[in-house]
Symmetry: C3
Subunit: 469 residues, 3 copies
C-alpha cells in the first residue's frame, strides 16, 4: 500500500476480529468482479478510445462529487456540468480540476473519498491527495496516464478483473454499441439491462412520443394495451440477444397494481393519449411493474426495483441543468402495501426473481427483510446509492441478516457510471463484508469454516447467482 | 461448552468489556427464568405426555423456521405445515427433518440458528449441526431423547429453571388445561393471559359468533355495549382465578379512542350485527383498548399492546394455509397520536400499567422511549419478534435507554411457542444485556456496582415486577 | 478526575482508537465554549445575583429530570414544578432534593446522569452521587457553594470558558436584560436570538393579541400582511442591535409554503382576526417560514428550524401545569416535501443559511443529509433534545457524515436552560466527536492530521462559523 490507503482499512479495530477479517479478505480480494448493475457507457468498450481529460472522466459526470461541491457554494456551471439544453459553461478541465482539488477535504468521511483515494493510488499512482497546491501536477499526471494504451477502456476492464459487467439501456435503445462489442471479437463480457421507464412512466419526459417510437421499433400497435404489452415482450427478447439477464425499474414508489384487463385498457387509453393526472401516472407505473413481473415469470429476466427517490428536488437546478444533477432526495417508502398486488399475482411463480432496493433504511428490518425472508420470489439488493458506503453497508447487514439471512440477498453491485472507481467500490464492499463476518465469528455466531464459505458468496457468488450471469 | 457453542459468545469483542460482561453474566446465568408472555401449550404441562417426533416439536409449528425454508423455495406442504382446512400434505417427520437439516445453513446469522444450536447442544447433546449427511442420525438421536422421561414437559420445565411461565388463551377459552395443572398438585407455576382479540376485533374470523359465545359463557347480554363490557369483566376475573396477571392485545395499529357512551353503543350496535367497514373495525378496536385499560386500572391486570403487524400478507398462503404462516409483515406504526385518547383518559391511573411492543424500530427513540419516559402508566416491552435477536436487542438498548432509562422497561420475555428454545432465548438476552452493561461500564457511563445491580433486574427482576408475578 | 467521572469516559474501548481519541480530546478539551443556541436567562448575567437553592437551580426547571421522576410515579406538584396558573404546590427545596436524590438511580444510562455527575464533581466537588442517605448533606453542600461569589452567574460564565452564548427571546421581548448586560460594561458575550413563534404560529396562546402587541411595539399596521412583514423586519433589526445573529423557529412540522401575495393577504386576514382552522394555522406557519427565509437572505440572520415535536401530549398535564413539562413527544417528520417550497423560492440565495434540526432520526440519512449535501443554503444542526446524548450523537455522525460530510454540519450547541450543565454537555460532545474521529482514523478513513484539523472544528469552529459569531 502507498501513501493514501491504509492496509487494514475498514476491518474491525479489535485485534481478534481484525485478524479474522484480514484472513477472510485475503481469500476474496482477488476474486473476479461481477458487476451486474451499473451505468458505464458501452461505447467505451465498443470504441476503446482513450478517456479524455481527468475532469471529464472523474468530476463532470459524477453527481456524488459535484453535488458536494455545489453544497458548499460552487456552481454546476463552473464545474462544467452540462446544462439542460446540452450547452456547457466551461470545458476547461484544468480549471474544473483545480476547484475539485482545492476542496477535496470536503469529502472527508464520505465513500467518495474512499473510492477516489483508491483510484488515485492504485490506478494512477498518486502519492498525495489532490489539494490546491498540487492541482496542476495531479491533473497533468492523470492526463498523462489516460493518454496511454493501458488506460484505454478494455485494458482497464481486464486489469480490473471484471468477469461480467451490465450496462443499462432504455427500452428504445438500439444497442448498437453492444452490437459493436460483440462483433469486435473482444472477450470482455458486457451485457445490457432492460430499463423501460421511458415507456412505463407517464411522467417521463416525452412519454407519449416514446410510445409511438416503441411501436415503430417493434412493429406493435402501441395505441393499444395489448400492443404495448407485446412491444415489451419483443424488446425484452431483443435485449436478451445482447446478454441481458435483468430488467430495471426506477420508480418514485414501489407501488404495484393488479387491475383487470378492461381497467388496464382504459387506463392505457388515457395515459397514452393525454397528460396523465398524478394518480393515473402512479397507477400506470404500478400496473406496469406487475406486467413486467409477469413477463419475468415467463422469460426469466431478473427484475430490479429501485424505488424511493424524489427526483429533481430543486426546481431551479432541474430547469437549468436537467436530471441527475445531485438533487434527488429520498423519502419514506412503503413496500408492504405497495408490493402486495404484484406478490398476490405472481409472488410464488418459480421463475420470478425480484431484487428490491431502498433509499429508506427504516424499511430494511421492518419490511424488506421480512418480505425477502418469506417470499421465494424476492431478494434484497445491496445497500444503494447514499448507502453504498461503509456505515451504510454495516447498517444493512445488521438490519437485514437476522431476518432474511444471507441467502435472500443479491450480493454486491456497484451501480456506477464512474468506471475507474469500480475496483474501489468492490474493495470497500469486500472489506466491510469480511469485517462483518469476522465480527460474527468472534461473537460466536458463525464458525470460521462458514465464514470462509460465505465470504466469496458475498464478494461475487451471490451476485452471479441472483443475476443469473 | 461443546461443539456448537462458543463460551464467550455475544459478549463484546474488546477484552476489557468482554471481561466485565463475562463477570456480569456469571452472576445471572443461573437465575430462574421468568417467562411472563408466551405461547406454549398448557396441555403439555397438564398431560405431561412425551413430545412427538423432532419435526413436530421443532419445525412444523415454528414460523421462524418454515418461513425461511419457504423463502428459498420449499413449500409449506412439503414441510408438513397444516393447511387452512386442518389437513396436512405430509406427516413424515423424517422427511421434513431432512429438508430442514440439509438447509440449516440458511439460518446462518439469524437468531433461530443461535436458539437451535443452543437447544441441540445443551438439550440434546448433538456434537454437530444438522446437515444433509447427518439428517437421519440427528433425527433419530432427538427422537430417542424425546421418548425419555426426562424430556417430558414438566421435567423440562424444571430442568430449565422456570420460576413462572404465562401462556396465552383467547377470551372464550375454558382454561381446562390450566385447571388440570392446578388440580394435579404439580408445583410448576403456569399462568394464563387474557387475549380477547376474537371478541374485540371485528375483523377477527367469526367475530359476531364469538360475541354470542361470549354471552353464553358469561351470562351477559352481549347484544348490548354494557353487556359486552360486563362480559369482559367476568372473563378477566375468571382468568385471574387461573393466575392471569396480564392481558394481551394484538392489533394492526396502536389506535385507541375515547368515545362517549352513546357513541360506543351505536358503534357496538353496528359491529355486533353486520360486517364492519374497515374504519368501523379500527375504531372499535381502538375503543376496546381504552376499555381494557379502564378495566386494568380497576382490576390491576397488566395490559400488553402488540401492535404493527400486517397479518397474512400473502393472499394465497392465507387461503391455503391460514394464519401465522410466516407471512406477517410489519409496517410503520404510530404511537404518539394513537395512544393519546387512552392516555388522556387513564394515563395517570395508579394501578394501570401498559406494556408497549413494536415491530417498527423507528418508534423506539422517536416515540416509545419519550412516552415511557414520561407517563407513569407506560413501560416498554423488550425487542419483539423479528427483533428478538442479538442486533435487535442491541439496537433496542441503544435507542431506548438514554430517554427512558432502564426502569421504564419491562425486562425480557420470550414470546414463543417453541418450548425447547426458552432457555436459549433467555440466555441470548442475558448475554446481550450483560454485554451492553459492560460497554457502559467500560465507557464510564455506569459503575460496576450499578451494573451488578442492574444485571439481575434485566435478567428477570424487571419482568417479575412489570408483570406482577 | 474524582469519584464520579472516569478519565477516559466515552472514548472507544479498543486500545488504538482510545489512544487516538485521548490525543484528539487533549487538543480540544480546553477550547472556549461557543454556545450559539440555548435558553439560559439573560437576567442572570444582567443582575449577577447568586442562584437560589439547589433544587430551584437544578431540578425544578429541568424537564429532563422531573419527566423521569414523574414517569416513575412522582408528581409534578411534589417536585415543585410550577402549575399553569403560576402557583406552586411546594417551594421546599430540601424536600424536592430528597426525592431527586433518592431516585438518582433512575437516570442510569441517560445523558442527564452524565451531565449531573460532571456538574456534581467538577463544579461542586461532590465525592459521591446523591442518594437517599446523603440527600441532606449534598443539598447543604451545594447550597453553600451557591451562596459564594465564585458561583454567581458571571463568575461561572468565566470559569466555564464561554466565548459567546446565545439566549432565546420571543419577538415581543424588550430585551431589557440584554440592555443591562451591555450597559454594565461586563466583557461576557451574551447575545439574543429572534424567536417569533408567538406571532408566526396561529396556534400559539394569545396569537391575535400578540399581533396587536407587535404592531404597538413596531409602529407597524399588523392588521395587514405587509405591516406584519415590516414589523418582523424591524424586530429583527432590533434584535441584531443586541447581538442576534440567528432566528429560531419551533414548529410541529417543517412545512413551508410559497403563496402569492394575494393568497398571503387573504390568509393573514383570516388568521389575524379569528380562530384559525388547523390547516390554516399550518399553512400560515409554512408561509411564515418562507418569509423568514427571505428576510434572512436579506439581513443575513441564520435561520434555525426545530421541527417535529408534538407538544403537550398529555391533556391533563397541560391543563394542570402548562407547556414544557416533559410531555412533548416527537413524531415522524417530513423534510423533503416540506422544505421544497422554501428551497425553490430562496434555496440558492447566497446570504441564506438554514440550520435544520430533527427529532425523527430516520430523516438523518434519508432526507437531511441528502438535502444538506446538495443545497448550499442548508446545514444540519447537531443531534437535538432526546438525541443530545452519547448514542444519539454517535448515530448522528454515522448517519450524516457519509452523505453530507463534516462541513455541511453546524457544529455542537447545547440548547439548554440548565446553565451549570453547559460544560458537561460540551464535554460529552467533544469526547464523542473525538471518539468518532478516532474510529475513522483507526478504520483508515481519515489521516491523523485531518482528524487534528477536524477536532477543533467540531468542538467550536463549525458552530462559530455556522452562526456567524
Amino acid at each position: 500500500m502507498g501513501a493514501l490507503l491504509q492496509e487494514d482499512r475498514l476491518f474491525p479495530a479489535e485485534a481478534s476480529a481484525k485478524a479474522v477479517a484480514r484472513d477472510l479478505y485475503g481469500q476474496v480480494r482477488d476474486l473476479p468482479i461481477v458487476s451486474p448493475h451499473g451505468h458505464t457507457d458501452p461505447r467505451w468498450f465498443a470504441e476503446n478510445e482513450p478517456f479524455s481529460d481527468p475532469s471529464e472522466l472523474l468530476i463532470v459526470p459524477d453527481h456524488y462529487i459535484f453535488r458536494m461541491l455545489v453544497s458548499q457554494g460552487m456552481s454546476h456551471d463552473a464545474l462544467g456540468v452540462p446544462r439542460a439544453d446540452g450547452s456547457r459553461a466551461t470545458r476547461d478541465g484544468r480549471a474544473i480540476w483545480k476547484q475539485f482539488a482545492s476542496h477535496y477535504h470536503l469529502f472527508r468521511g464520505t465513500p467518495t473519498r474512499l473510492w477516489l483515494d483508491h483510484t488515485f493510488e492504485t490506478l494512477f499512482g498518486l502519492e498525495e491527495r489532490p489539494n490546491a497546491g498540487n492541482a496542476d501536477a495531479t491533473y497533468d499526471h492523470i492526463a498523462d496516464c489516460l493518454a496511454r494504451d493501458e488506460f484505454r477502456p478494455r485494458a482497464l476492464f481486464e486489469r480490473f478483473g471484471i468477469e461480467a459487467i451490465a450496462t443499462t439501456e432504455g427500452a428504445l435503445d438500439d444497442l448498437k454499441w453492444h452490437r459493436v462489442i460483440r462483433e469486435s471479437g473482444w472477450a470482455g463480457r458486457v451485457v445490457t439491462t432492460y430499463r423501460p421507464d421511458s415507456v412505463t412512466d407517464p411522467d417521463f419526459e416525452g412519454f407519449r412520443d416514446n410510445l409511438v417510437r416503441l411501436g415503430e421499433i417493434t412493429g406493435c400497435d402501441t395505441g393499444s394495451w395489448e400492443g404495448w404489452l407485446e412491444a415489451h415482450r419483443r424488446r425484452r427478447a431483443y435485449f436478451r440477444e445482447f446478454g441481458a439477464t435483468a430488467t430495471d425499474h426506477g420508480h418514485p414508489s414501489a407501488a404495484t397494481a393488479n387491475l383487470s384487463r378492461a381497467e388496464c385498457e382504459a387506463l392505457y387509453a388515457k395515459v397514452s393519449t393525454r397528460e396523465a393526472a398524478p394518480e393515473e401516472a402512479e397507477l400506470f407505473r404500478a400496473q406496469a411493474l406487475t406486467e413486467m413481473a409477469r413477463m419475468s415469470a415467463e422469460d426469466g429476466m431478473v427484475m430490479q426495483i429501485h424505488a424511493g427517490s424524489r427526483r429533481n428536488h430543486s426546481a431551479s437546478v432541474f430547469s437549468s441543468h436537467g436530471r441527475d444533477k445531485g438533487f434527488d432526495i429520498p423519502g419514506p417508502t412503503d413496500y408492504v402495501g405497495a408490493l402486495k398486488p404484484m406478490l398476490d399475482a405472481v409472488g410464488f411463480e418459480p421463475k420470478l426473481s425480484v431484487i428490491l432496493f431502498t433509499l429508506d433504511e427504516t424499511a430494511y428490518s421492518r419490511e424488506l427483510a421480512p418480505l425477502a425472508g418469506a417470499y421465494p420470489s424476492l431478494l434484497l439488493g445491496p445497500a444503494w446509492w447514499f448507502f453504498d458506503s461503509v456505515e451504510g453497508m454495516r447498517r444493512y447487514r445488521a438490519a437485514v441478516t437476522e431476518t432474511a439471512g444471507f441467502y435472500n440477498t443479491a450480493g454486491f453491485n456497484d451501480d456506477t457510471r464512474a468506471f475507474p472507481s469500480i475496483p474501489a467500490r468492490h474493495d470497500v464492499a469486500r472489506r466491510v463484508d469480511c469485517g462483518y463476518l469476522a465480527e460474527l465469528v468472534v461473537d460466536g455466531r458463525l464458525d470460521m469454516d462458514e465464514a470462509v464459505e460465505l465470504a466469496p458468496d458475498l464478494a461475487c457468488g451471490l451476485a452471479r447467482k441472483a443475476y443469473r450471469l
